[in-house]
């Protein structure tokens, strides 16, 4: 009797293991970058951190740009998974990675100042060459920045996974700002010739450096 019960448990357990296996559809879903957002960064410390504050130090003007599909990536999850249920409900869900890939990459980044930065850089001037960038995706052995053209060249058509489909990078102004406030407009040209534009909020510049408590 006990042997039969053990055999029954063995069969049930085996079926449950089989039902927990699933085969994910790893085929790519494609999306378009259609939204660009800019957020402020506090770069006074060792590492840049996001901030809601609209004031920045005159040598530490920095932003984070995010490029993504504003419709979300839910279509990637619409693909059916191929679970083996064998009449049993799976004990847990089949976790698939749902890879997605953008249809285009960045080809050019232009940044314009909307306020006068100093006497030689009036409102409307293209200040792209005064910015350097740092990808947030890591993968670099260096802590240094890259130029904006290099950032575009390195933005290969990469595969993202569900919940990750955001191309983000940080922008850092190289020169000290002498004006009391700044504001920038960023225009990203994509490989399909579309342009995405976004503006920063008005940033108030702090010139007097005091020791942090």
């Amino acid at each position: 009797m006990i042997r039969k019960l053990l055999l029954l448990f063995f069969v049930i357990t085996t079926i449950r293991i089989a039902s927990s296996c699933c085969e994910c559809d790893e085929s790519l879903s494609y999306f378009d970058f259609n939204k660009l957002t800019l957020a402020n960064i506090d770069n006074t410390g060792d590492w840049p951190v996001s901030t809601a504050s609209d004031s920045m130090w005159f040598e530490a003007v920095a932003f984070e740009a995010a490029l993504f599909d504003s419709t979300g990536y839910y279509y990637a999850m619409a693909k059916p998974s191929h679970d083996l249920h064998l009449g049993f409900q799976a004990a847990y869900s089949c976790k698939c990675s749902f890879p997605v890939q953008s249809m285009q990459q960045m080809s050019e980044i232009n940044i314009y100042t909307l306020e006068s930065l100093n006497d030689s850089l009036p409102a409307g001037a293209n200040v792209s060459r005064l910015f350097v960038a740092q990808s947030t995706s890591g993968g670099s052995n260096s802590t240094l920045y890259v130029s904006l053209p290099d950032l575009c060249n390195s933005s290969e058509q990469q595969r993202y996974y569900y919940g990750e489909g955001v191309e983000s990078f940080r922008l850092f102004l190289k020169i000290p700002v002498s004006s009391p406030f700044v504001r920038f407009e960023m225009v990203i040209k994509l490989t399909d010739d579309r342009e995405l534009t976004s503006q920063t909020r008005r940033i108030y510049i702090r010139h007097q450096q005091t020791s942090p408590l």
Binding site: N43, T44, G45, D46, W57, E59, A60, V61, A62, V132, N141, S142, T143, L144, Y145, V146, S147, D150, F172, L173, K174, Q209
Partner: protein
């Protein structure tokens, strides 16, 4: 570097040829512990760091406890080959030695002369080498990879010279005097900096050079056979090694600000200083014939 590799090759070749002509074989194994002290006449850093100033040291000396294992093989009464390795407190292999010697002249009951050639690799610690930037660049925060704030500085020596051996009953004495070259194995390291309240980031990248220097090594060995049978001997042994050399560690410094482009490259050659290495170890030697 090719020259040193050739010397090493010749040493290995001599060892192999000696093994090939084996007649009356003798094997030895010794285990010993001791202390190694490395002294460097450190001077203040100038505009650029001298990495030798950041060797692990207490005062002017770096002291290391060592466990040494050595294997010896004599294919006949003329040749002697030995190789060994050393373990430091982290129980990792740090040292490697290989030496070949051949008796010279006619057989004498008590004393003989030999010519010996050897290769050795030993390590010491390089600590907190980013302190130079921390002290000099006060407006910057300095980052060094925390995994590499301490690293091994490897020193290779290739030497050759005469050896005098004295043997009386159970007592054996050996005195060697060798000359050759020593050089630090090149390493690469990066130190990153960020200016406070600023976006400015920069990186110092250092690529050191082999920096060969003449080196003189004196070795003194003493052993006394406690047990002697027809084909086995057990001896206590004491060995002292001293090396003196005038050393520097040359390097290329690459300073990049903001991006990797337009880096400022400087070749730095710190002033040579006297570098002294002494080691004393004692243990047991097992000899099988």
């Amino acid at each position: 570097m090719k020259c040193y590799m050739k010397l090493l090759f010749v040493t290995v070749l001599l060892a192999v040829s000696a093994i090939a002509s084996a007649q009356h074989e003798q094997f030895t194994f010794s285990i010993s512990t001791g202390n190694r002290a490395i002294h460097y006449d450190s001077i203040s850093n100038s505009d650029n760091p001298d990495f030798l100033n950041y060797r692990y040291h207490n005062g002017l000396k770096g002291n290391y406890g060592m466990l040494l294992l050595e294997f010896g093989f004599s294919p006949d009464s003329n040749w002697k080959i030995s190789s060994g390795f050393g373990i430091m407190s982290d129980l990792a292999l740090h040292d490697a030695t290989l030496s070949v010697s051949r008796k010279l002249g006619k057989y004498h009951r008590y004393h003989t002369w030999a010519i010996a050639a050897g290769f050795s690799l030993y390590s010491q610690y390089l600590n907190n080498y980013h302190q130079f930037q921390e002290v000099h660049d006060t407006l910057f925060t300095t980052f060094a990879n925390s995994n590499f704030i301490q690293m091994d500085l490897l020193d290779i020596t290739i030497t050759a010279g005469p050896e005098y051996r004295f043997k009386a009953k159970r007592l054996n004495l050996e005195q060697g005097l060798k000359a050759g070259i020593a050089g630090f194995v090149p390493f690469y390291l990066t130190i990153a900096q960020k200016k406070e309240y600023s976006n400015l980031r920069r990186e110092y990248r250092y690529q050191t050079h082999f920096s060969p220097a003449p080196a003189f090594i004196s070795t003194t060995g003493f052993s006394y056979n406690l047990i002697e049978t027809y084909d086995f001997k057990l001896a206590i042994m004491v060995e002292a090694i001293a090396m003196i050399s005038s050393r520097t560690l040359k390097y290329r410094q690459t300073l990049s600000s903001w991006t990797l482009e337009n880096a400022l490259i400087t070749d730095v050659s710190p002033q040579k200083q006297w570098y002294r290495f002494t080691e004393l170890h004692a243990g047991l030697r097992f000899k099988f014939e």
